[in-house]
Symmetry: C2
Subunit: 197 residues, 2 copies
DNA sequence: CTACACATGTAAACGGTTACATGATTAT
DNA sequence: ATAATCATGTAACCGTTTACATGTGTAG
């Protein structure tokens, strides 16, 4: 049970509908978890049934009716309990790393192409996360915010996400360059990052 | 189907038994995937049934009999096919990040304690990965190995794992220090990293 | 004779993904 | 009309985790 707590933690920042949460979890952000919309709707139902969140209908003139959720006292207690329990260690699980691991034995060209794509995607996420960080800290510089700003939790997870993406980007760029260089020296057609423009 | 290819990629480095693979995937290393022993034994059976790997029994005087596996030509073809297919983007999924996200609303002390543990674990993994990297490159310095050394795939994934753990460590240390500092300034008992020695 | 490392599995439960399904409103 | 965005779900499948299960040989 882990998405459960991720949803609770996300709802601490304010009232959200399933649709709004889905955007935060699915697209771009997801600095501390990731989930598909379907999973979120399901989890929100369960959480409401268990009394950990409560939803209210908001009828809109201009848009379809939505349901906004907030964390209840029972939900906060559940989160506190979760935060105090032991957590299993995190690990990398990445298709692309599997491909790179095998790159000595398979055609490198498609792997290089995917590294290029990853680098671009990671760079885009870094920008998104930078925007979020700037919005969070407002006028304060980072050092000051980290010492005195509030909320600190979301800022810290966002920082972690930003560094992860930066790291991911740098590694992808370097790996792609190295593999390209090796392919060239071995007399291959030297696949360039064309992006089919 | 992803563990499947991770196992194939791992077996490219040589002949391994389920037990040996399990140690590489479970303990320490796992620079490109992670799996439990039970899952590996199951996956090895499936891979052998599908003809992607082939196993041979090795009777040992001093130890119980084991089965060593190698990738077949069909297995290599499967890997090549996989390497050329699109991969879904990687993402962070970490219990501890969920806890940090919620740290403004729950007791920070147990979260800080877990950050300390994480930092220590990450530092230990960095050392293990450094050892593996040194062993891989032998006499060559890193730049030279990256340009000319072989195999390059495992070295690159190991580098990625190393940086991930380093990053994980640095962030954990910083987050723990900041949260501790805030707790102290708010007049709390100031939980120190005692480690119950 | 007890604990530990080596060695290999099975079965049930759980969590997550994919595919399927529906419907309102706004902009083109 | 049609596409795009908003909005919410269900059902089947698959991959992963947890718990259970067994047995050999070595070291203390």
């Amino acid at each position: 049970m882990s998405l459960r707590h991720a949803v609770l933690a996300a709802l601490l920042s304010g009232e959200y509908s399933g649709y709004e949460l889905a955007k935060a979890f699915d697209v771009g952000v997801a600095n501390f978890w990731y989930a598909r919309p379907q999973q979120l709707y399901l989890e929100l139902s369960k959480l409401e049934n268990d009394g950990l969140i409560s939803g209210r209908e908001v009828v809109q003139r201009t848009r379809p009716t939505k349901r906004l959720f907030v964390v209840t006292d029972a939900g906060l207690a559940e989160l506190a309990h979760f935060a105090a329990a032991v957590s299993k260690s995190s690990f990398i699980r990445d298709d692309l790393l599997v491909k790179v691991q095998a790159v000595d034995h398979v055609d490198a060209a498609p792997v290089i192409a995917q590294l290029d794509q990853r680098a671009a995607a990671a760079a885009a996420k870094v920008e998104i996360l930078d925007k979020i960080l700037r919005r969070l800290r407002g006028d304060l510089d980072e050092e000051t915010y980290l010492r005195h700003g509030s909320p600190i939790g979301p800022y810290l997870t966002c920082l972690r996400g930003r560094r992860f993406e930066q790291e991911h980007h740098d590694w992808s760029v370097r790996a792609a360059a190295l593999l390209r260089d090796r392919a060239t020296r071995n007399g291959h057609p030297a696949p360039t990052s064309d992006q089919s423009r």
